[in-house]
Symmetry: C2
Subunit: 196 residues, 2 copies
Amino acid sequence: MRLGRDTREEILNAAEELLQRRGYNAFSYQHIAVQLGIRNAAIHYHFPGKEDLGVALVKRYRQRFRDWTDEVARLSNAWDRLNAHFQTYVEYAVAGSKICPGGVLSSEFEAIPEVMRHEARLLMREIFEWLIETLDAGRAQGSLNFIGDSRHKAVEIGAALQGSLQIARMAGEERFHQVLQQLALELRHSSADSLP
Amino acid sequence: MRLGRDTREEILNAAEELLQRRGYNAFSYQHIAVQLGIRNAAIHYHFPGKEDLGVALVKRYRQRFRDWTDEVARLSNAWDRLNAHFQTYVEYAVAGSKICPGGVLSSEFEAIPEVMRHEARLLMREIFEWLIETLDAGRAQGSLNFIGDSRHKAVEIGAALQGSLQIARMAGEERFHQVLQQLALELRHSSADSLP
DNA sequence: GTCTATATCCGGATAGAC
DNA sequence: GTCTATCCGGATATAGAC
């Protein structure tokens, strides 16, 4: 209605918020419609089916991540890049009971349309490839310390981030920050200085 | 119908399976009814409302965990106890795209009845209390090595387990085993023997 | 591009017979 | 304790006016 108002974008923004708060199957076109002050049918004009909306959301996450990696590529220190990645999750955490896209999509994996599953797999893969690269770079330059296979460490970190955001919902936001602190402690700890 | 058939138990078993595969909001009384070859209404006889069923499920998880901790308390080695805990998750993983109760409940936390949330919080707390105790015992006896606060490490481990089960769904079961391997490697690694 | 109105379906739930 | 029948509400979705 108003000049410059991009309804499609606003729908995506509202849907993204709802997705990370309630999950895919627990949000409806009604929720979005009420929030934007429009009608149900208006959303169907932009996204004929709910799965179209779902796919658009995941594609947007993927694009955003690509743009983001391009940006942080400037940072020469791998720990700084990894820390910047952590910040994404911090933003979810402080927003209050928001979980990460991967967390939503994997939890509901068996209950989302196949097209969405496909996009979700791609998103996952892209994130982990970046994580592995970053860990390898960090180990090579000495800004990150860890033992074992970087691919294993990457999944461990990704899983811990995803899991701790969810746990924070039930057990308090501190839980998330404690995990973040622990991850950092272990990655920055040179194995020379030992146990307490 | 048949002698000794306990419908209530069978409903719980089917529901538990569905919960960990599809999530709370994505399974219906229909799913259960079809699976057990009974009618919708029969389930309502045992569990008047869906939330009654949900609460019963979480209470059962809690009871099972209490029984389990009593059992493994025999093991004098903390690493053995922790490893036994890991086995619970391995069973979920090899069952194929099953995630852990905490993972389901925390992902859908904003979309489940308040009574379930309450039970879920208790379950979480009990698991983490046990994890912390176990880590402390392991550190004291030297069977577990880690740096930092045991409460932080406990959440890190719990989050990694929960997250990796979910990630395994999208990226393959190996991911879960890689995390398990990495966790073990780090916990059993004496900081004397250093990087490769 | 957004509306009203409506269609369809499904999940949760109840009443009452057996 | 399980059935049949039925109700209700919510969610996805479409048709057609504006």
